[in-house]
């Protein structure tokens, strides 16, 4: 599992869904986008295929060293193994407390009951049984199309490919990115990222910056709103020298700040961030959230 840092600009608002806990707090879940779902699926399919190849190689190698009588056991294990890989892989992984296959984990996704309640075993079974027609049927028809002999057969197979392709593309045609399995099982797939707690930019780590050398007038601190603050936070966390320079000179120009000799861009921006956040949080306590620099109130 990768631990990533939050982005300054969150994913498009259209994918955010309310999940109010029994304690009355909205957790604001973000649905996984179609692209993320497809990537996770692809990753899982690669894992399944690789596992199947390894299983087959092992089975063949084992069978070669055995007498005919015990080869049967190998054959059974292979058959069951292939069945479990195809039909059990998704099921078993989604039944764990992470509710995600390795592919979903890698992309920071998980399966969740749409009503916010418990994710039941039946729901997981159902959503993955439907995979049979969403994921496995279209390729089967496609393969059939390559062997179909006469044009009539070819036409029928083509219709079948289109028909089953519609199942596959189903998530693109609804707001909640539900695939058919999700509809029937009452589930959806949400982002479940793991963010590390980043150090507080206005905290003790930057103590050396917050000196009287950086004292801003009320006008200077009033130049920006929350949106700009978040962008500034992101810039400071990324620490890209060119961006830092550009942003620093932009802000200095706007608030009329003359850099003292030896003053670094990071030091100036950190100090200004602290001052701006202090000002905006102070106003927030009094009930006003200044959205951005155009918000005059």
């Amino acid at each position: 599992m990768t631990v990533s840092h939050p982005q300054a600009s969150p994913a498009s608002k259209s994918l955010v869904r309310a999940l109010v806990t029994p304690e009355g707090v909205d957790l604001r879940l973000t649905l996984a986008s179609a692209g993320e779902r497809a990537a996770a699926l692809l990753l899982d399919l690669v894992i399944i295929v690789v596992a199947l190849i390894v299983l087959t190689i092992l089975a063949v190698a084992a069978a070669a060293t055995m007498k005919a009588k015990s080869q049967e056991v190998v054959q059974m294990i292979w058959l069951l193994g292939a069945f479990v890989l195809r039909s059990g892989y998704f099921l078993l992984f989604e039944l764990t407390s992470r509710a995600a296959t390795p592919g979903k984990r890698a992309l920071g996704l998980r399966v969740v009951a749409r009503d916010g309640g418990r994710l039941t075993a039946e729901a997981v079974f159902t959503r993955n049984a439907l995979r049979e027609i969403e994921v496995f049927l279209p390729p089967i028809f496609l393969m059939a199309s390559s062997v179909a002999g006469d044009p009539i057969d070819g036409l029928i197979v083509l219709m079948a490919v289109i028909w089953s392709g519609a199942f596959m593309l189903f998530p693109l045609f609804n707001r909640d990115r539900l695939r058919m399995g999700d509809i029937v099982a009452g589930t959806w797939v949400v982002k479940s990222p793991r963010f590390a707690l980043a150090p507080d930019l206005a905290g003790a780590a930057n103590r050396s910056v917050f000196t009287p050398a950086f004292t801003f007038t009320p006008e200077q601190v009033n130049a920006y709103g929350v949106k700009e603050l978040e962008i500034l936070e992101d810039v400071l966390r990324r620490r890209d020298p060119r961006t830092l320079k550009a942003v620093a000179s932009r802000i200095q120009g706007k608030i009329g700040w003359a850099p003292a000799p030896g003053e670094t861009d990071v030091a100036f921006l950190t100090a200004y961030y602290g001052a701006l956040r202090g000002r905006l949080e102070h106003r927030l306590l009094f009930g006003h959230r200044r959205r951005d620099k155009f918000d005059k109130a």
Binding site: L27, A123, F125, T126, A129, V184, G186, D200
Partner: protein, 330 residues
């Protein structure tokens, strides 16, 4: 102004230890089984979760540190799913399934099961009638692979030999495994196709029936009806019942999608999916039995009466298990 003394900064320093503790507990709980946590840790988890939730509310209302809020959101969400997620033990889940969930789900599908059975029986009768009157139909009903020498041109003796063929003895258990995986895959497909407005599921069930009727007609026309019955139903009683239930589960879903009733379509579909899903998991279990009976039982038990009695006993047992009234279990 001293940037160090922000309220949101003080708030964070005060609570940070609790968040870290929750994060560490979650990490351990998610990696292995929840059993890895001690009792006191398990009790702590919900408390820490509620503390994190309240921190999140406070942070949203008073802090403008975007990364802090994102961290708290992800932490609280993870903890929520752990605290309110599935945490029944696997063994509990499995016994609950066999004692209660599975038969209840099948019973709940009785209407669809009836429809599915009627389609199946009607198709069987049609298949029978067609082939009895004109053996040429056999070829169109059972094309290719399934025949394996069982066709109208074969001699009666050859047909009979198939019924008591035991030279398969070598690979019985792998044959049973193959039958199970194949049938399970087909029944899951039949179930899933229910979503496409029931029609493909009905076709799959009917196709099964047609084939059965055709094969029966072929043998009956040679006076081997009783014998082929034993050969078919020793496992067929289980397998065909499983097919019918799989079809019924598919119908339930398709029907809910077409006619959701007075509920929103999505709710109706997911309610149907839950019942049907439990029944389908049971179908896979039934097919394990059917695979063993077909792959092993049929090759070793060759007396007609023995085959027939296994067929009847299994049918009665399944029906009793599903439909006999029983006391309510919590």
């Amino acid at each position: 102004m001293n940037g160090l003394d922000l309220r949101s900064g003080r708030f964070r320093t005060e609570r940070e230890a609790d968040w870290r503790r929750l994060e560490a507990l979650l990490k351990r709980a998610e990696r292995g089984r929840a059993g890895r946590l001690s009792d006191s840790e398990l009790l702590q988890l919900p408390q820490l979760y509620r503390a994190a939730l309240s921190s999140l509310s406070v942070a949203r209302a008073t802090a403008l540190d975007a990364s802090l809020i994102a961290y708290l959101e992800s932490l609280a969400t993870r903890a929520y799913f752990f605290v309110y997620g599935t945490r029944t033990r696997l063994l509990q889940k499995v016994t609950g399934f066999f004692r209660h969930d599975w038969p209840m789900a099948v019973r709940g599908l009785w209407r669809e099961t009836l429809v599915s059975a009627v389609i199946f029986v009607a198709a069987t009768l049609i298949g029978y009638a067609l082939v009895i009157h004109d053996p040429d139909w056999y070829g169109s009903i059972m094309p290719g692979a399934m025949e394996q020498g069982r066709d109208p041109t074969a001699s009666t003796a050859a047909l009979k030999a198939i019924l008591y063929d035991t030279h398969h003895h070598e690979g019985l258990s792998s044959f049973a495994t193959f039958l199970f995986t194949h049938n399970a895959q087909v029944s899951i497909l039949a179930f899933a196709l229910g979503f496409a407005f029931c029609i493909p599921t009905a076709l799959l069930v009917a196709e099964n029936g047609l084939g059965l009727g055709a094969l029966f007609a072929l043998y009956a026309s040679r006076g081997l009806g009783f014998q082929v019955g034993g050969w078919l139903f020793i496992h067929g009683a289980t397998e065909l019942l499983a097919t019918i239930i799989a079809g019924a589960a598919g119908f339930r879903i398709g029907w809910a999608v077409i006619f959701p009733g007075d509920r929103p379509r999505l709710d109706a579909a997911s309610a149907a999916g839950r019942t049907a899903g439990a029944a389908m998991a049971g179908v896979v279990v039934m097919l394990v039995f059917a695979g063993i009976l077909e792959g092993v039982g049929r090759q070793t038990v060759t007396a007609d009466w023995a085959r027939w009695s296994i067929a009847w006993v299994s049918l009665v047992l399944w029906l009793a298990y599903f439909y006999l009234p029983r006391g309510k279990t919590a």
